[in-house]
Structure formats: structure tokens, C-alpha cells
């Protein structure tokens, strides 16, 4: 097995330039199969370690039991109200945080004087681990949706501000020169050149932001909240229901993946010209 893989790899590199033959690993379906096999093998090792007693199931859980918990969880009515609560807060944090972050990034790019004044303040605020402020947000906004959405917002806002501004700083000055020679007004230049230039970096910011908004929300939920997946994660973890804890983490993982995929789909639509 090892031998064939190695020879396969060397043949791949040898034919790469000629591109006469599609390498084994470059077929999409094969990549998915290989990934699935990797995950299954890792779970089997985990299962065996727990089964044989090398790892204590009470602490690390066991894949087969986690899977059973997961399917049981899916049929629980309360899961859906918790999930809805988390999703709502995440979407709120993501949309408001992104919109304001993008606006702030564009504004700072448009007024360099303002940027110079607030730059150290932005850096300082962004260097505070916001997750550590979650208890404070709960104190301020209570245990409803506001506090957890604000925790997500506090992460997302700075991510978008920084990526938007960075994208504009690397803008090709030629595009601005041509706009000037064409007697473009400030507003026209902003809308037709500056904003489109910042779109690719805005999307890389959104990719990060979607994950961080969920992170902020779940952390706040784990500390104190009326509802949310973070609430049940901490409940299960504190009662040593490890398999159930992992089952909720699977739900969170799926949720995170769905949100990230949604952003990617929109991105590939908007940035079609990049892949053309």
C-alpha cells in the first residue's frame, strides 16, 4: 500500500508539467472518499481506545455513543428552540457587526486623518480578548439575545473593519489615476472603484466573521443565557455527560459549516470575475 502510494506520488510530480494524466488525488470524488476514510479511521482508533480501556470513556467519550446521543438529540424538541436562539443571535451579530465594520473600514479609508487618530484605539480595543468581556456584556444587557449577540458583534466588527481597510490600502493606484483623468467625482470613484476593490478582502473578512460570531455567541451562552446551544453544552459538560456534550458540538459544527458555506456561495457569485 505504502509502496504504491509513493510510486503514485512520484509519477504525479513527473507528469504534472505534461498534465497528460489526471493524478489520482486530483479527482474530486476521490478527495471526498479519502477525507471520509481519514475521519472514519480516526474514529475507529478512538472507539478502540475507549473500548479497550486505554482512554476513559467517562472523560473522552466514545464515537458510537456520541453518534447515538447525536441522533437522540435531533429528535429532542428543546434542541430546536436552543438552536434557533443561537442562530438568531449569530445572524444578528454577523449582519450588524459586518455592516458597521465594513462602513467603518470604508470611512477610515476615505478620511485618513480620522484613521490616524483612531488607529491606535482600534488596535487597543481589538487586542482585548473580547471573550473575557462576555460576563460584562451579560451584566450590561441581561441574559437575553442582546448580550450574546453583542459578544459576537464585538469580534465581527473589528474583523471587518480591519480587513476592509487592509484591502483598500493595497489598492492599485493606477485605477485611481485613470478615474482622476476621466474626471470622476469623489463619489463616483468611491462607488465604482474603491468599494469594488475592497470586496475580495471584505469576503475574506466575512469568512472569518461567520465563525467568530458563532464563537462569541456560544461563549456568552455558556456563561449565562436563557437559551442556546452554549447553554446545553455547559450543562452536559458540568454533569459529565461527555457523549451528549460531543453531540451538541457536532450540531454546532454543522451549523458553523452551513453558515460558512452560505458565505462562500455568495462570494463565488459576487467574485465571479476572480475565477474567470
Amino acid at each position: 500500500m505504502n509502496g504504491t502510494l509513493a510510486s503514485d506520488a512520484s509519477r504525479t510530480s513527473a507528469t504534472a508539467r505534461g498534465a497528460r494524466r489526471t493524478p489520482w488525488v486530483h479527482s474530486r470524488v476521490n478527495v471526498y472518499i479519502a477525507r471520509l476514510i481519514t475521519v472514519v479511521v480516526l474514529c475507529l482508533i478512538w472507539e478502540w481506545l475507549a473500548y479497550a480501556g486505554y482512554a476513559d470513556e467517562r472523560f473522552v467519550g466514545r464515537p458510537s455513543a456520541i453518534l447515538a446521543s447525536f441522533f437522540k438529540l435531533l429528535t429532542t424538541r428543546s434542541l430546536w428552540s436552543h438552536a434557533t436562539s443561537t442562530i438568531a443571535a449569530t445572524l444578528l451579530a454577523f449582519s450588524v457587526g459586518s455592516a458597521l465594520g465594513i462602513a467603518a473600514g470604508l470611512a477610515l479609508a476615505a478620511w485618513p486623518v480620522v484613521d490616524e487618530v483612531v488607529d491606535p484605539i482600534v488596535t487597543a480595543l481589538n487586542s482585548i480578548p473580547r471573550v473575557a468581556l462576555a460576563p460584562l456584556f451579560i451584566l450590561w444587557f441581561g441574559i437575553g439575545i442582546e448580550s450574546k449577540a453583542f459578544a459576537g458583534f464585538s469580534l465581527v466588527f473589528f474583523i471587518l473593519l480591519i480587513t476592509t481597510r487592509a484591502g483598500l490600502k493595497n489598492a492599485d493606484p493606477d485605477l485611481l489615476t485613470i478615474a482622476r483623468t476621466l474626471c470622476s467625482t469623489r463619489l463616483q470613484t468611491f462607488l465604482k472603484v474603491v468599494v469594488p476593490i475592497s470586496v475580495p478582502s471584505i469576503f475574506s473578512g466575512l469568512q472569518l466573521a461567520v465563525i467568530y460570531s458563532l464563537l462569541g455567541v456560544v461563549v456568552a451562552e455558556m456563561i449565562a443565557s436563557q437559551a442556546g446551544l452554549g447553554v446545553i453544552v455547559s450543562q452536559y459538560a458540568q454533569t459529565f455527560a461527555i457523549n451528549d456534550t460531543f453531540a451538541v458540538l457536532i450540531v454546532l459544527g454543522i451549523l458553523s459549516w452551513l453558515l460558512a458555506t452560505a458565505v462562500r456561495v455568495v462570494e463565488s457569485r459576487v467574485l465571479r470575475w476572480q475565477k474567470a
Binding site: 485605477l175 485613470i178 476621466l182 474626471c183 465604482k192 472603484v193 470575475w273
Partner: protein
């Protein structure tokens, strides 16, 4: 309407066959398109241009040649209104230049196309900034692409176009506004030899028979002599006009055959001596 209309109106012949139309430059003020008087310019404490006097007749094609650092691009940018003169002044079409002028077309070696727009949309861009309605500007952009032999690439993005095609789109964007003055900063410099030999005659074909004034900045002596009515040679440290050579070669010119022309070779010798 200068360039567009004239290029396709076979019956109109504003330019005499022996290329002497430029002699009008010295006559009356209304025949002068660009008048540069006592212009000096410096960047920080480096004197780039010193006391430049130059006038370009309406419909004349002049080439500015010189080693790098002689200030030819700076002079062009001053005429474009992208830079302000330190002393002296520049008049275009009877008006003192203090910023970009709507009827001046500007183009440089880099295409500066908007990568998120198709070829058609890039040509339409200059018209869009001028408030030409959408249907109208698309129609006109399409006509330009056709003229430039690019109609098949109308819906392609910048990344899908070759260097030569990109520069042709940039030319379309510049000409679409139907400028009365064209400022070209080494527009053919980034092209490979073959593409250059396709694009230069194409440009002359579009220009010959028009009443557009052209200032071409180049370091290529052959390009300067073969295309222009007048070659202005600049020296450096600081930039001054060293020589002003009239090119008495008949039009339309066949660029490929010029190399064997004795007048051409004599001119080439003279310009080269002035450069060194």
C-alpha cells in the same frame, strides 16, 4: 466626435499627404492645442523640469522622447492636470490647466482596467462617468470594440484577456470619450514586439484623418519617428528640451517599410545623436 467620426469617413482628408499639417502649429493661437510656457517642476529637492517651452498644434501628433528620468512623464502629467506646475503655465485649448480636463484622453503602459468589469463594461466606464445612459454607452462601447477587433472578447474579464487585448480595451476606454487631446505615456511599452507591431498601425489608422492632438511619451526612437509629426527630444538633470525634430514622412505611413526609407534613417540618426 473627432477620432471616431473621422476614422470612418473616407471622404474627409484633413491631413495633407506629405504630413505638413503640423506646420499650422506656429500660426495663430486658435491653432495651438497645447501651449507650455516656462514650466519648471521639482519633486522634493530634485529639479525634474526646467523652463520648458513647447507648443503643440491642433491635430498634431508629437512624440516626447528621452532617457528615463528626463521628466517626460512628469511633463505629460502636468498637461493632464494630474500634477500642478511649480512655475510657468500650461494652456490646453485656450484654457489654463489646473486639474484633469474632460476632453483629454489619458493612457499609460499599464492597462488599469477594472478587473471586475468585462471588456465591454471597461470601455463603457469612461462614458458612464460622464453620465451617458446605459443603453447608449453599451452601444458605443460595442462599436469601439468592433473597431478594435475585440468584439468576440466583449464579455471577458481582464484576467481572460492577453496583454495586447487589455491595452486595446484601455485604448477603447480612452477613445470612447472622443477626446480632442490624447496623452499617451508609453502605451505600447509593456507589449511584446509582435503585439506592438499590430497595435501601432491600428492606432495610426484610427488617428490619421482625425483632428485629435496626440502627445506620445516614449523611449523608443523608432516608435516616435514612425508615428509622430514631430519628435521632441528631452535631456535630463534637469529635464530640458534638447531638440525638436519635424518628421516629414508622408501619411498614411506603412510602419513596416519605413526602416528602408532614407529620410527615416536620417531622422533616426539625428534623434539618436540628440538623445546621447
Amino acid at each position: 466626435m473627432q477620432l471616431m467620426e473621422a476614422a470612418f469617413d473616407a471622404t474627409r482628408q484633413p491631413r495633407s499627404a506629405d504630413g505638413t499639417s503640423s506646420s499650422m502649429a506656429e500660426n495663430g493661437a486658435s491653432k495651438v492645442m497645447v501651449r507650455i510656457e516656462g514650466v519648471s517642476h521639482q519633486f522634493a529637492d530634485v529639479r525634474v523640469l526646467e523652463n520648458i517651452d513647447l507648443s503643440v498644434g491642433r491635430g498634431e501628433f508629437i512624440a516626447l522622447v528621452g532617457m528615463s528620468g528626463c521628466g517626460k512623464t512628469t511633463l505629460l502629467n502636468l498637461v493632464a492636470g494630474l500634477l500642478q506646475t511649480d512655475s510657468g503655465h500650461i494652456m490646453v485649448a485656450g484654457e489654463t490647466i489646473c486639474g484633469p480636463r474632460p476632453m483629454t484622453g489619458y493612457m499609460f503602459a499599464r492597462d488599469a482596467l477594472l478587473p471586475w468589469r468585462t471588456a465591454l463594461e471597461n470601455v463603457a466606464y469612461s462614458l458612464e462617468l460622464r453620465g451617458v445612459p446605459k443603453d447608449e454607452r453599451r452601444k458605443r462601447a460595442r462599436a469601439w470594440l468592433e473597431r478594435l477587433g475585440l468584439i468576440a472578447a466583449a464579455d471577458k474579464y481582464r484576467s481572460q484577456l492577453s496583454q495586447g487585448m487589455r491595452q486595446r480595451v484601455a485604448l477603447g476606454r480612452t477613445l470612447a470619450i472622443e477626446p480632442d487631446l490624447l496623452l499617451l505615456d508609453e502605451p505600447f511599452a509593456a507589449l511584446d514586439a509582435q503585439t506592438k507591431q499590430e497595435l501601432q498601425p491600428k492606432f495610426l489608422e484610427l488617428w490619421e484623418g482625425s483632428s485629435t492632438t496626440v502627445i506620445l511619451v516614449t523611449h523608443d526612437i523608432d516608435e516616435a519617428i514612425s508615428m509622430a509629426d514631430r519628435v521632441v527630444v528631452m535631456s535630463r538633470n534637469p529635464g530640458r528640451i534638447a531638440e525638436d525634430v519635424r518628421v516629414a514622412l508622408p501619411r498614411p505611413r506603412n510602419l513596416a517599410d519605413l526602416v528602408d526609407d532614407s529620410t527615416y534613417r536620417a531622422l533616426r540618426h539625428r534623434v539618436r545623436n540628440a538623445l546621447i
